[in-house]
């Protein structure tokens, strides 16, 4: 129980379609901001871990660890990337957490990065769908939105969830992103605009889906003992848990429940001795708005089937009982795949430090992120505290 590893610096690149910048440039930008924020010296960093899903397909470049160390002038430190589809960023944070806890590393720079706009939309869709079971889902015509539509349609049938409730998640997250300087979409959208936006895969519409984005996020992490050397306001990781489920959605008995989210969030709460009501702010993986609804149920904010109603009643608003995605979430902040899991932690660190400006939730003591891969085949949960 208690503090395990410290986060002493955070940094972000702008999220959006950044045509004038390369993958290496945005990664460097986020990393440098995190290093400046931590006031750590480059030579003191002894490890670099990058969360990235598919640079090879999106840009043609792999071997990102060596590239970032080279471009950043970080010398000969060990550097590598980790991949867990949309949970790659969370996996990178967790790798750094374990590396520091084990004593192998003292100060680690964590980056999450993805550059998705260097390919056309068709190629981007193809690449996103390899996060599912491509051979048995994607190849047969099930696009990524279609897989989430599968879940949405079952959720609507079994629990009466409505299209309006799925749309209200978008309205909330866009409203929050107005105050997030790094967000891709900083403008509110009215409910009727969401509900009349184009269909991707019924019942999922364009405005129920996270966008295609470029962006990077960075963290400087170190041991709890050394944290105060760098900052007066460190935040601490109190639990970092991960679980897996079947790769293909069709292999799950209940597609309205993400079992990996259930177990990883329970284990995280158990490790910290906290109950869900003790968490003051959440970053939940809303790659599609139905996933925010499902995850809010699976972590226990509400009972199974009541996630849609929770949004309707304002429970997950910034001033609600369980604020979800004060940053704008994947929907409005943007979803550069490998960056997302790290960006969630950046947001929660800012919330814990009281630095989240106009999107600040009052009195944040504990925070939780849920970063999932594919259709929930990977779930990575972090609990942070001050």
């Amino acid at each position: 129980m208690g503090k395990k590893v410290a986060i002493v610096g955070v940094g972000m690149s702008k999220f959006g379609e950044l045509w004038n910048k390369s993958l290496a440039e945005i990664s460097l930008e986020a990393g440098m901001y995190a290093i400046f924020d931590a006031q750590v010296k480059g030579k003191d960093i002894d490890g670099l871990i990058i969360g990235n899903m598919s640079a090879g397909r999106f840009t043609g470049q792999e071997h990102l660890g060596a590239q970032a160390a080279d471009w950043g002038g970080l010398g000969d430190l060990p550097a590598y990337s980790v991949e867990a589809a949309c949970a790659s960023g969370g996996a990178a944070v967790r790798q750094a957490y374990m590396a520091i806890l084990s004593g192998q590393h003292d100060i680690v720079l964590v980056l999450g990065t993805e550059k998705m706009s260097d390919v056309n939309q068709s190629m981007a869709m193809d690449t996103i769908s390899v996060a599912s079971d491509w051979e048995w889902e994607g190849m047969f015509g099930a696009t990524f939105p279609a897989l989430y539509a599968f879940m949405a349609r079952r959720h609507m049938k079994e629990y009466g969830t409505t299209e309006e409730q799925m749309s209200l998640v978008t309205v909330k997250n866009h409203k929050n992103a107005v105050h997030n300087p790094w967000a891709q979409f900083r403008k509110p959208v009215p409910l009727e605009v969401v509900m009349s936006s184009g269909l991707l895969a019924d019942p999922i519409r364009v405005l129920h889906s996270s966008p295609i984005s470029d962006g990077a996020a960075g963290l400087v992490m170190c041991s709890v003992e050394r944290a105060k050397e760098f900052t007066d306001t460190p935040v601490y990781i109190e639990a970092s848990t991960q679980a897996s489920d079947t790769l293909a959605l069709h292999d799950r008995a209940d597609i309205c429940r993400m079992k990996a989210v259930v177990s990883s969030s329970r284990n995280a709460l158990k490790e910290t001795g906290l109950a869900i009501k003790d968490i003051d702010v959440f970053e939940l993986h809303d790659s599609f708005t139905i996933s925010e609804i499902i995850i809010s149920e699976d972590i226990g904010i509400v009972k199974k089937g009541e996630g849609g109603k929770a949004v309707e009643e304002g429970l997950t608003e910034i001033d609600g009982k369980f604020p979800v995605n004060a940053s704008g979430g994947l929907k409005a902040r943007g979803h550069p795949i490998g960056a997302t899991g790290v960006a969630q932690i950046v947001e929660l660190a800012l919330q814990l430090r009281g630095d989240a400006e106009k999107r600040q939730v009052d009195g944040v003591e504990k925070a939780m992120s849920v970063n999932i891969g594919g259709t929930g085949a990977t779930s990575i949960v972090h609990i942070l505290g001050r």
Binding site: S122, M123, M125, D126, S129, E135, W136, E137, M139, F140, G141, A142, T143, P145, A146, L147, A149, F150, M151, R153, R154, K157, G198, L199, L200, A201, D202, P203, I204, A248, L249, H250, D251, I255
Partner: protein, 140 residues
């Protein structure tokens, strides 16, 4: 080296042409797509090849309206999770059915169709799609 897709498809022709999966005789579970080990029984599992009857019902579905290039010509099309009568579930397109008529629990049977192509001059993938059952064929 094989041309793109050739070996990848050739080694699973039986599975995608005939819906051949596995039956674990230890736990009596049917698997599709084929598995290397029974995920429930692991080393105690006894997997035997099993060709599914190709009958089932729609568990859930979506109408795809934006798709990658290889599927663009077909939009809007129906893709569904089909629960086979033996218990396994798979993902497939639903054909011979208007998008207004498809519904959860609809009875369907497999049919043999072209699925996709590996690029413009690449090999053509054939395999299973599903269509509504019809009384005349005796499938219900």
């Amino acid at each position: 080296m094989a041309e793109k897709g050739v070996a990848q498809l050739w080694r699973k022709i039986k599975a995608i042409y005939t819906i051949q999966g596995d039956h674990c005789t230890n736990c009596d579970t049917y698997y599709f797509p084929p598995r290397v080990v029974c995920p429930k029984c692991r080393r105690k599992g006894q997997l035997e090849k099993y060709t599914f009857k190709g009958l089932g019902k729609i568990h859930t579905f979506a109408i795809v309206r934006q798709a990658p290039d290889t599927f663009k010509r077909q939009i809007p099309y129906i893709v569904a999770q089909v629960e086979l009568d033996e218990g396994a579930r798979l993902t497939a397109q639903i054909v011979n059915c208007d998008i207004e008529d498809v519904h959860i629990d609809m009875r369907v049977r497999s049919c043999f169709r072209k699925i996709t192509e590996y690029g413009e001059s690449g090999i053509i993938v054939y395999g299973y799609k599903f269509e509504p059952t019809m009384k005349v064929t005796g499938h219900e």
